[in-house]
Assembly symmetry: C2
Homo-oligomer: 439 residues x 2
């Protein structure tokens, strides 16, 4: 099956940032076979022709940090201090179960696809269920079961996530769209032996490891007091700061931390919306990039960042960096779109396969329409995407060659997915409301 997209303003996000204002892209099944100017001869070859109507065609966006099944928490206690320990942990232990994780994952995946996210890194419980949802919904997922120092909703023992992970990784290792990894919760919610064990599993099965790092004020204090080290230095001291590590947040990192991370090849999932909403601070990604650290963007869970799209994250990232350094010219729009696409793919070590529109890569594509009122005029297409667009401008999305969104309509039944989630959420919702009243 050869599908042709014509009349597209193509932003390839390749090394040279090649663009084709009247571009054409051909895909054969799951692979991109041509990107360039319109080629009439080649076009004759297509089984299906799609007119992009001058829309912007970009690589599928890569969300490098999420807890997609936390949809049931959205809009609960948003402005409450220490929400993690007051709302999230207790409700998770009490009310999360396999069915709820599955239904919430389906809902969140639908939401991400609608907004142009084609790949996401997830860290949660019952990760088998998230994998099943990805498999059913044609979503590219890099999925890690949480490892943490207390009993959880899916493991009766502390650190039960270690065993879960080994099984999980074996089960999904050769799946086309699902890439299993391991995900210790954070530096301060795992002891050294658990972190080392998780890292060993990652080495054994050749996977990534993802973790919250240097996010919390109290985390910083704890490591200073207990070890006279930063969390990053601590991770390095136990051999876990490696090129397998995707460190989420990294708000509180100093010069020495960044040098260490660069030397070890550790990459960063920058979650600016979540960080700013919680008043935690702004991660110094300008310096990280200068140090040669690979940085991608992450939405965090829909409880923390409330939206699962990268448009909000791109705009907030550029606002935050320009303001933090008082420099309007910092992070030009094209550099921000790189973070959301090819750099995100590099964070996940998938840049051979996705992240840019190049021949031989997987057909993960996003078409952004330019008819809506907010998308005119366009002198600079990167600017239009970063500063003007929102998730509702996404017209079509292909993942691995399959069109999952067509003219803003998902191929999945949104109403059915929502109703199934509402059904599974009943007890959760009741307890969530009770907890709000208790606090």
């Amino acid at each position: 099956m050869k599908t042709l997209i014509k009349n597209a303003w193509i932003l390839t996000m390749d090394q040279a940032l090649s663009t084709y204002p009247q571009g054409m892209l051909m895909m054969e099944d799951d692979q991109i076979t041509y990107v360039g100017d319109y080629d009439a001869l080649l076009a004759e070859d297509a089984d299906e022709v799609i007119d992009a109507m001058g829309g912007l065609l970009i690589p599928g966006m890569v969300n490098t940090h999420a807890h997609v099944s936390m949809i049931p928490f959205r809009s609960l206690g948003d402005d409450c201090p220490d929400r993690l320990r007051r709302y999230l942990f207790p409700l998770e232990i009490e009310c999360m179960n396999a069915s709820l994780v599955y239904e919430a994952a389906r809902y969140g995946i639908l939401e991400m696809q609608r907004s142009g996210v084609t790949t996401f890194l997830d860290m949660y419980y019952f990760e088998e269920e998230v994998a099943r949802a990805c498999d059913e919904m044609q979503m590219r997922g890099v999925l890690g079961e949480t490892v943490i120092n207390f009993p959880t909703c899916d493991c009766e023992e502390a650190y039960g996530g270690l065993d879960y992970s080994e099984n999980f990784i074996r089960n999904w290792k050769s799946h086309e769209l699902v890439t299993p990894i391991i995900a210790p919760h954070a530096t301060n919610t795992n002891d050294a032996s658990a972190l080392k064990a998780a890292h060993e599993i990652a080495k054994t099965y050749d996977t990534l490891i993802s973790m919250h790092v240097a996010e919390m004020d109290y985390e910083m204090k704890e490591f200073r007091e207990n070890y006279n080290m930063t969390p990053v230095e601590y991770l390095d001291s136990i051999g876990v700061l490696s090129d397998r590590l995707v460190a989420a947040h990294c708000i509180h990192v100093n010069e020495h931390d960044m040098k260490l991370m660069a030397a070890r090849g550790t990459s960063v999932a920058h979650c600016v919306g979540s960080n700013m909403k919680a008043g935690k601070g702004i991660s110094p990604i300008k310096e990280m990039v200068q140090h040669g650290i690979t940085v991608g963007l992450g939405t965090d869970g829909p409880s923390s960042g409330n939206t699962l799209d990268l448009f909000t994250q791109m705009k907030t990232t550029v606002y935050a960096q320009k303001t933090h350094y008082k420099d309007r010219s910092l992070f030009k729009a094209e550099e921000i779109l790189k973070l959301a696409t090819i750099e995100g793919a590099k964070v996940l070590k998938m840049d051979e396969k996705i992240g840019s529109l190049e021949v031989g890569k997987k057909a993960d594509l996003v078409l952004i329409e330019t008819n809506s009122v907010n998308m005119f005029p366009i002198y600079d297409p990167y600017s239009a995407i970063v500063y003007s667009a929102n998730a509702s401008n996404v017209d079509s999305v292909w993942i691995n060659g399959v069109r999952v969104l067509k003219e803003k309509q998902s191929i999945f039944n949104q109403q059915e997915i929502k109703e199934a989630l509402m059904q599974e959420m009943k007890i959760f919702k009741q307890r969530a409301i009770e907890r709000s009243k208790e606090l």
Copy 2:
């Protein structure tokens, strides 16, 4: 004509922040006649019944600072330092004309209405044309002609805006939707006598006066060097810091400035998106509010903030304040929605008429649908609006009792408005592209 909206989750934004989860609102022509729980008897009286389907009904949003006719600049040179003097001023002088201002105003008004903005304060040239567009498009506008110390696209003489303003104010003084004001450009682009003259005009005709204040680094330096004062102190020293003044931006204000502003009753249009994109800094609105200064939100021009909706501004405002003060509990979602509605109305001294849903006020209403994927679940409706929603969630908008947006369709012909604008933009666009190449 009596119109009933039923089955709405009504957020009145009145003094007590009353809400009606299964609410009903009745309007008679341009006025709200009932807000409360469903009343079957009263409902019988309606000529037209609209089912809000559980959507969120809020007051029309108030954009307290815009240059709506700058649509032609959007996405041009966004990341370029000192863009104002390198792009905006030269292109305005060379290419702006009455027809372009009119067509761009129509386009921008359409965009604002679609996003739930029902009132805006505008500052630009050919303001007669913006007024005409408001009149034709049922938009509530508080409009000020620019006064500036050089010849402009609509005045051959420096400070020609003073005369223009007097005529403009006389022409529109008694219009139902248009409120004419006067708008000196900034503290550093007007001399003292022009600022005083503008203020006298405002007093004579009992209007507001709006101006950019304490926005630029070089403005701060200039006032320190020339007067050993801040711009705010300077305005006070010449008698212009009054309760008529809507000061836009106010990024660089100190404790003494805020005390002065509070004492004089000066209000502030906070334009966080524009300020952060330009790397200028974050205005200390937490302290302003503590000092008793009235603060509203502004998008600034679509060249500066790129979008004309207040959803982006609400979210960015709350992110910026929580981060700046490292306090998650600061500016709860309901306080942010207040800034976008009733506080904005107070900034414009229109809170007797608009800004909340109360009996006797004008029927300026926004219905936000909750069916879209990003709007579920909702524990806290303010949270959903501030942290989750975007402009595309606006379903319906009424201004002065007239429904200008119905199920996401404008009553105005978007295609016609865009084509007319494109026609008028031809020379502008050519010169804009040439200028990009020169710079």
